[in-house]
């Protein structure tokens, strides 16, 4: 089966006063139908920029897609005109943003905002669109849909606003939904509601989801596949079970070790990743993680590692996995012990 979305060597840069920032530096991944891909990483790793590029939302004044390709159902999306993007966005690719307060129009009733897409993309009449919107509101768990239809975003709680955001994203039944930190601004009990809702709707509609997040718990909860980003590149990717059980990249191992586990013993010391991510004005020539990596070798400083493949589409870009590297199994075991 051909993937729904294929991203190959995507590069995105921004012009700033300080020079060019290479935010995304050759990112590749694919998403199959009905699958959830989680893109994980810390602030500044390029995960949100990647998401924006997939939606054609890199601001043209300061940013630019420098290279690579984005193929959606076989169609190349890079280089589309503004008008062509407008036909893709909202209709074939839906979006859910982190903060629904800033992504919803504060001066427009929420019902109208949802209906807008239906009128534009599905050529519905106002009455049809209103009817459909009321159904959508009910479907995303908003009680008293008719009353809510007439309300403005500020009259809704954060959880309700995110439900509106989901209703908007799903209105035209897109094949792909890109959700950028959809539950980060929400409390944990509301997060559980929203994640459950997204899963249910995905099962009903067979939608593919790209979930951008920094929260490994959310990844463990909903993802099928995971891509771990660091300093503008994907350092490791694979099925969610493999990533949690057999992380092959020291950065992934570090991330998993730095969060406390609920089943861990009391006051067990966390293992942080020392240092901070590199400066993307001057990205390092070799592996971007080298300065913080406990297993760094000389070659890591100078040459960017290629992706090595493991069992079941699991890939990691680290020199330790190179067949020419010394067989030091110790570091891998160290990772495994804490995650089984």
């Amino acid at each position: 089966m051909k993937p729904l979305l294929e991203v190959d060597q995507l590069r995105v840069s921004f012009r700033t006063y300080g020079g060019e920032v290479q935010a995304v530096r050759g990112v590749s991944f694919s998403v199959k139908e009905g699958e959830t891909l989680a893109i994980v990483g810390e602030s500044g790793c390029g995960k949100s920029v990647t998401a924006r590029a997939l939606m054609g939302m890199i601001p043209p004044r300061s940013g630019q897609v420098k290279g690579g390709s984005i193929r959606f159902r076989g169609r190349e999306l890079t280089g589309l005109t503004k008008l062509e993007w407008q036909q893709v966005r909202g209709s074939q690719i839906g979006m859910i943003f982190q903060d629904p307060m800033t992504s919803l129009n504060p001066t427009m009733k929420i019902g109208q905002q949802i209906a807008e897409g239906l009128i534009k993309h599905r050529k519905q009449t106002k009455t049809e669109a209103k009817e459909e919107t009321l159904k959508l509101l009910a479907r995303v768990g908003i009680p008293e849909a008719a009353r809510r239809f007439e309300q403005y975003p500020h009259e809704l709680s954060g959880g309700m606003r995110q439900r509106v955001g989901i209703a908007m994203a799903l209105a035209c039944q897109p094949q792909l939904v890109i959700a950028d930190e959809p539950t980060t601004a929400l409390d944990v009990t509301i997060q559980a509601q929203i994640l459950r809702l997204m899963k249910e709707l995905q099962e009903q509609l067979n939608t593919s989801i790209i979930l951008i997040t920094h929260d490994l718990g959310v990844v463990a909860e909903v993802a099928d596949h995971v891509a771990v980003m660091y300093a503008g590149v994907v350092v490791e990717s694979g099925p969610v079970g493999e990533i949690f059980d057999n992380p092959r990249h020291p950065y992934t191992q570090g991330l998993l070790q730095s969060v406390p586990r609920l089943d861990a013993g009391k006051k067990e010391r966390l293992i942080p990743i020392e240092g901070t991510p590199p400066d993307l004005f001057r990205p390092p020539a070799g592996c971007p993680f080298v300065a913080r990596c406990r297993s760094a070798m000389e070659i890591c400083l100078e040459h960017m590692p290629q992706a090595n493949s493991f069992f079941n589409q699991h890939e990691a870009s680290c020199w330790l996995n190179d067949p020419r590297a010394m067989r030091t199994e110790a570091w891998m075991m160290a990772g495994r012990e804490t995650h089984d």
């Binding site: 810390e42 602030s43 709680s157 959880g159 309700m160 409390d187 944990v188 009990t189 509301i190 997060q191 559980a192 509601q193 994640l195 459950r196 920094h214 929260d215 490994l216 718990g217 959310v218 990844v219 463990a220 909860e221 993802a223 969610v240 079970g241 949690f244 570090g254 991330l255 070790q257 730095s258 969060v259 406390p260 586990r261 609920l262 089943d263 861990a264 009391k266 006051k267 067990e268 010391r269 966390l270 293992i271 942080p272 990743i273 020392e274 901070t276 995650h339």
Partner: protein, 318 residues
């Protein structure tokens, strides 16, 4: 006898919100904090956990109830005693960007407390600043720089150094790691743990991230709509949560491994917390409680110790 450093008795804090209306941000909260322990406070946004922390260190005056520092009511202290108590009770803020004066050099930010309490002067003051920078994992040369030259994690270290400058014995950490990336959070949490071990500092650790709170705390209090719902030793709270809200909160946490998805029975609460301006009668949680009974709407549950060291406010637990 247990040595309590801070005690809170029936503490309440209300805010005027205009139109003669009041929000009871914290309502009838009582507990003790033992010397050298870490007491975690968890709860969702608007539950009053930050107001609680700020009221304890004196940033807000309490509306009712008492705050005891080393067994003495703060409201009854004379000026000198109170100033000394203030020095001992410090707060680390959530956002290190907003809480550091952008126009001051890091050295002066850290020395502000030293100057204010006249703890050291001249060469000795300088030395102290350098030692504090090293203590929190920064370099003495950083004293000459401004806050914007640092990353979020480093700024939080500066915030911690500033607090340590006045040698407090009790620190309220209010969402102090929430704004940081996970790999950096672990660095700060380890730093806090090291400081506690070296200087026997007591922490009130306020956060919404349950797994981090469990990791760092000896005991944990769970708040909802301004009131304390349950308080117990960490392990006990997670192993046998008694309050329906605590049970729901723990069950709402994402799994820590994908294989656990299938195993668990999740209690997903319906609805959202009610407005603290018009809290429900009786138990504040009853509108979302899956097991609420008639009595829950009629009277507020009493705060009682149901097992050794395990406190709860719920009609249904005896």
């Amino acid at each position: 006898m247990i040595d309590n450093i801070v005690g809170v008795e029936n503490l309440a804090k209300s805010f005027e919100i205009g139109g003669g209306q009041q929000v009871r941000a914290v309502d009838r909260v009582s507990f003790e904090i033992r010397r050298g322990e870490t007491l975690g406070i968890v709860g969702e946004s608007g539950c009053g956990k930050s107001t609680l922390g700020r009221t304890i260190v004196g940033l807000y005056p309490a509306s009712a109830g008492r705050i005891l520092f080393q067994g003495k009511d703060i409201a009854r202290m004379d000026r000198r005693e109170r100033r000394e108590a203030n020095r001992h009770m410090q707060l680390i803020f959530q956002d290190p960007q907003a809480s550091l004066n952008p126009r001051l050099r890091v050295g002066d930010i850290i020395a502000e407390g030293i100057d204010s309490y006249g703890l050291a002067k001249g060469k000795e003051r300088e030395e102290r600043v350098y030692r504090l920078l090293e203590l929190v994992g920064l370099h003495p040369s950083h004293a000459k720089r401004f806050p914007h030259e640092f990353s979020g994690g480093q700024r939080q270290r500066i915030g911690i150094a500033r607090v340590l400058a006045v040698e407090p014995s009790f620190i309220v950490a209010d969402e102090s790691i929430s704004a940081l990336d996970v790999s950096i959070q672990a660095q700060i949490v380890n730093l806090l743990a090291d400081l506690q071990a070296e200087r026997s500092i007591t922490y009130l650790f306020i956060a919404h991230d349950l797994s981090m709170v469990k990791h760092i705390s000896d005991r944990i209090g769970v708040m909802y709509l301004g009131q304390m719902m349950e308080l117990a030793p960490s392990e006990q709270l997670f192993a046998t949560p008694l309050h329906p809200y605590t049970q729901a909160l723990i069950s709402a946490m994402p799994v820590s491994h994908p294989a656990q998805r299938a195993e668990r029975e999740q209690i997903v609460l319906t609805g959202e917390p009610p407005s603290p301006i018009h809290p429900p009668s009786g138990c504040p949680f009853r509108t979302r409680c899956p097991v609420a009974q008639g009595v829950c709407a009629e009277t507020a549950p009493v705060w009682k110790e149901v097992r050794h060291g395990h406190w709860i406010a719920c009609h249904l637990v005896q």
